[in-house]
Structures are given as structure tokens and as C-alpha cells.
Amino acid sequence: MFNVFKGLVGSKTLTRDDIQDVLNKMRDHLISKNVAADIAAKLCDSVATKLEGKVLGTFNTVASTVRNTLQEACVQLLSPKRRIDILRDAMEAKQQNRPYTIVFCGVNGVGKSTNLAKVSFWLVENGFRVLIAACDTFRAGAVEQLRTHTRKLNALHPPTKHNGMQMVQLYEQGYGKDAAGIAMQAVNYARDYKLDVTLIDTAGRMQDNEPLMRALAKLIKVNQPDLVLFVGEALVGNEAVDQLTKFNQALADHSQMENPRLIDGIVLTKFDTIDDKVGAAVSMTYITGQPIVFVGTGQTYTDLKNLNAKAVVSALLK
């Protein structure tokens, strides 16, 4: 009885041994929530480093101390250090008479084109005119997919509601052509016709596919977009780490520039399919240090949200 009492109250200096068991459980818990194994271990290590030698407060158990420290670390990780304000930046570009440009990239099937369409909708709702550049010239149906979205978006926001202006246009050159060139023509078109924002859709590609990664680096290098968004799905497991590391690496390696353009932010898609297994959000921000700019929460145009860091962390530690 007295022993238990002592373990709970009384002040005590924490050693690694005291917390190791709790940390191991915590690490497994994070993995079960789909945090990449390596990152779960690193997070737990950082918690250990923070706690070692600290005096355990009265009435605190080791478990709750570890939990609280981890919680703080995760909230901090997921809270953007740098805010990306697309509406403000697009407005500024408009005042300079140039189109604001965003590139969407990522591996196959994660939701690049669909979330590009959602971003179009959001921009139009905020009064911007959008040009969608169909730079996936490879995958069957990719151009028609964007054409369908363009049609639907214009039906939701017809010219009659916008002083006779068509709010969304599609720039396409069919299949098989060089994506970087089409992107450039699209940006020029947007400038000529005073369209406010150009959204560049790219083909899905695996991070180890060198020719395709080289082509993406070229597209970004020659067009110097305002924003490079990496689209990743919340379903992804450990592979998230490799995807982001190698996309950044490829953009750096193939640009042959002193200060290459890297990934500026993340679009985390399919967040509606994972219940409380929110770990990919942690893995992706841990690797890049970049903010999650949008969260995709469904298949309709309004299913685009901001990340709620506190809610994610509470699901993570539940």
C-alpha cells in the first residue's frame, strides 16, 4: 500500500528506465494510429530526452507525464510555423497583373486532380478566376476528368452570377505532350486573358521513377510557381516518409539551382476514410516541416478543410 502511494505522489527524478515501458507502449500506440514506425520511435525518443532528469510533479503518474509531453510535441509539430495565405498572395499577384500559380504533385491516385478541383471551387467562391492546366498528359481520361470538373464548376458559378465572366477555364493540349511546356503556355494564357490563378495538375508518379521525377523537377524549375503542393493521402503508411523525402530530393537534385524550389505545403486527402488513424498527418509534417495547407474530407467540392491540430492530436492519443 505504501509502495503504491509512493509511486504516485512524492517527487522523483525521472530516469530513462522509469519511462521506457510507458514509451514503448506509446510508440506502439502511435504505430497503431498509422504514424510511420521510424517517426513514432523518434517522437518517443524526443519525449524521453525532454523528461530525463526532470522531477516528476506531485500527483502525476509517469504515464500521464509522458502523455502530456507527447501531446505538446505533437500539437507543436502540427501547428504551422509559417502560414500559407493563398487568398492574400493571390490578391497580391493580381495587383501585380500576373497569375498566381500552384502546382499539385504526388504519387498515383492520391487525389491530386479532385482536390485541385476543390481548390478551384474555393477560389471561385472567393471571387478569383481560375485556369486549370491539364498537365497530366499520360493517364487515360485525365484530361476529360478535368474537363468534367470545369463544366460542373461553371454550372455552379455561371457567368450570370459573375458579371458575365466565365470563372473556370481549362487549358489542355491533349495527351502525350511535354507537361512543362503546357504549363508554361497555360500561365501565359492566364496572363494574357487576365485570369487570376493557374492550377497545374500533374501526372501521378512514383518517387523512385527517375525520368518522371526529373520531368516534374523541370516543370517546377521552368515555371517557378508561387506554390508547390504535395498531395498525399491519409491512408498511406510508412511510405509517406519515403515519398516526401524523395520528392524533395528529386526537386533539389534535378533543378541544378542553388536554391531549388521544394515542397511548400501538403494537401492531406481522404481524411474521411481513416476514422481515428490520423498518423499520416504526423509523419508528413515531421518529414517536411511544412504545413498541411488543406485537408480533403470527401469527394465533393466543399470537402476541403483546414487542419485542426488539436482535434488530430486528441484522436491520435485517444
Binding site: 506502439d28 504505430i31 497503431s32 494510429k33 498509422n34 510511420a36 514506425a37 521510424d38 504519387v107 498515383n108 491516385g109 492520391v110 487525389g111 486532380s113 479532385t114 478541383a117 499520360f138 493517364r139 487515360a140 481520361g141 485525365a142 484530361v143 476529360e144 476528368q145 478535368l146 474537363r147 468534367t148 470538373h149 460542373k152 512514383m206 518517387q207 523512385d208 521513377n209 493521402e233 491519409a234 491512408l235 498511406v236 503508411g237 510508412n238 511510405e239 509517406a240 519515403d242 515519398q243 524523395k246 481522404k270 474521411d272 476514410t273 481513416i274 476514422d275 488513424k277 498518423g279 499520416a280 469527394q299
Partner: protein, 306 residues
Amino acid sequence: MVLADLGRKITNALRSISNATVINEEVLNSMLKEICTALLEADVNIKLVKQLRENVRAVIDFDEMAAGLNKRRMIQSAVFQQLVKLIDPGVKAWQPTKGKNNVIMFVGLQGSGKTTTCTKLAYYYQRKGWKTCLICADTFRAGAFDQLKQNATKARIPFYGSYTEADPVVIAQEGVDKFKAENFEIIIVDTSGRHKQEDSLFEEMLQVSNVTGPDNVIFVMDASIGQACEAQAKAFKDKVDIGSVIITKLDSHAKGGGALSAVAATKSPVIFIGTGEHIDDFEPFKVQPFVSKLLGMGDLKGLVEK
């Protein structure tokens, strides 16, 4: 090579048993820890990994183990068996019957690779001389019919679909009726991506299944999926009668462990793997040689049957 990295780690861990002078609890535990870490890094479901560890531990009882018994071999074969159990549901894979209508329905999460894989499978059978066709029962995704149409046209495979009909159940029924009447042997039905959180989408899947009466339902999984796989796979299995699994995008760096967890959840074997975006980036999959290879054991006829 697919899963090579995981295989190497497991082989190394097993080697630590061979190299140890004495084999005791400590050696076994450290080997199991290594293997479990490798499996977790490959996205195998954490519950399955824990189970595997416990099952191996249960087989190996150091106190009861007869002195003369070869502990090394016992441990290795216990690990082998557990890994096989992970990947092999012990069910014979469904095979189509020549000269008959075989309806195959594809289901899976959004973007997992269904539409691409439908054409790959159709092309695979067509090249083997089967009379093969495709039906697009996805009326939801923008450009879905164009995608299937372009793929099918390129591969010269007959297809059915509609730009105007909004109900996938109607299209699926019309397509299957038409192709059955024309004596097609392999009739493949592509459906929209869906997830368990949306009831209406699951209901639609059930209806398509009901009107087409598929001989086999194939669950398509992306190799990069993590811990969310199990719950999704279970839910799909509960709704429709999944008979096979195909794992796509194994040309990535992903080891496919998450997707393998779908095997446990659906109790259905992996029959093919996708290894690229092109129509022939597609290979039949055999469980036993795969695991042997994974563990660097025995003579292996290779991972796949060519």
C-alpha cells in the same frame, strides 16, 4: 524486387539465430523484435504483428524443449509458418471456367487502381485466348468512362458504358446482359471507389453485386496503405463476397504489408500484383514461393509464375 528489403531484414534476423552460440530466450526475443520492427515498417497491421510474436513465443518453450532438439530449425520454421499464415489464407484461388460466362467485379477504396487493373486483367486473359470485355459501372468519378474507354480501345477490348445513364446498377446490369448474350467468357465490371464511412456507397456496391451476380469479387488494394487497411478490408468483405485480392503499385518503394493485412481481413488470396502504370505491368502471385523468397529459404521458383 518486391518486398526485397523486408525479406533481407527478416533473413538477417533469422541469421542472428544461426550465428548465436547459445540459443536462449534473450536471443529469441531480440530476433523477434527485429522481425516485428521490419514488419511494422512494412505496414503490416500491428495486431497481426503482435499475434505473430505471441504465436512464435508459444511454440518455443525453452523449459520444455528437449535438449537434443534443434532449436534453430524449430524457431525458423515457426517464424516461417507464421509468415505464411499472414499471407496465405489457406483458400484456393478462384479460377474462371473456359467456355462459360465468368463475371468479375472490382471493388476498392478511391484511387487504389481498380480501373487500371481491370484493363490489365482483361488484357491478361485476352492474350491467353479468352473472349474478354469490360464494363464501366462508375458514374461518379469525373472522366471515369473516358478512362476505361481509352484503356480498352488501346488494348482492343470490347467495352460497355454510358455518358448519360447516372445509375451504375442499370449500366452494370445492361452490360452484363449484353455480353452474356454475346458469349463473352471474362466479363469485368469496374465500379467507383468507395469507403466504409459512407453507407450509401456501400449500398450501391451491394446492388451492383446483386444484379451482376459476380463469380468473383476482387478487392484492389494500394501497396502503400497503412494501418487503416484492416478496417476497410473487413467492411468490404462484410458487404460483398470478396474472393480475391490484387495489390497494386508495388513498383513503388512500399512493401505492401498494409495491403497484405487485407488478406487476413478478407480471408482471400492475393492473385495478382500491379507493378506499374502500363497494361503489362502485372504479374500472377503465388504465396508459398513468395514467403520462401522472403525468408531466403529453399529453392524458389521465383516470386511469380511467368
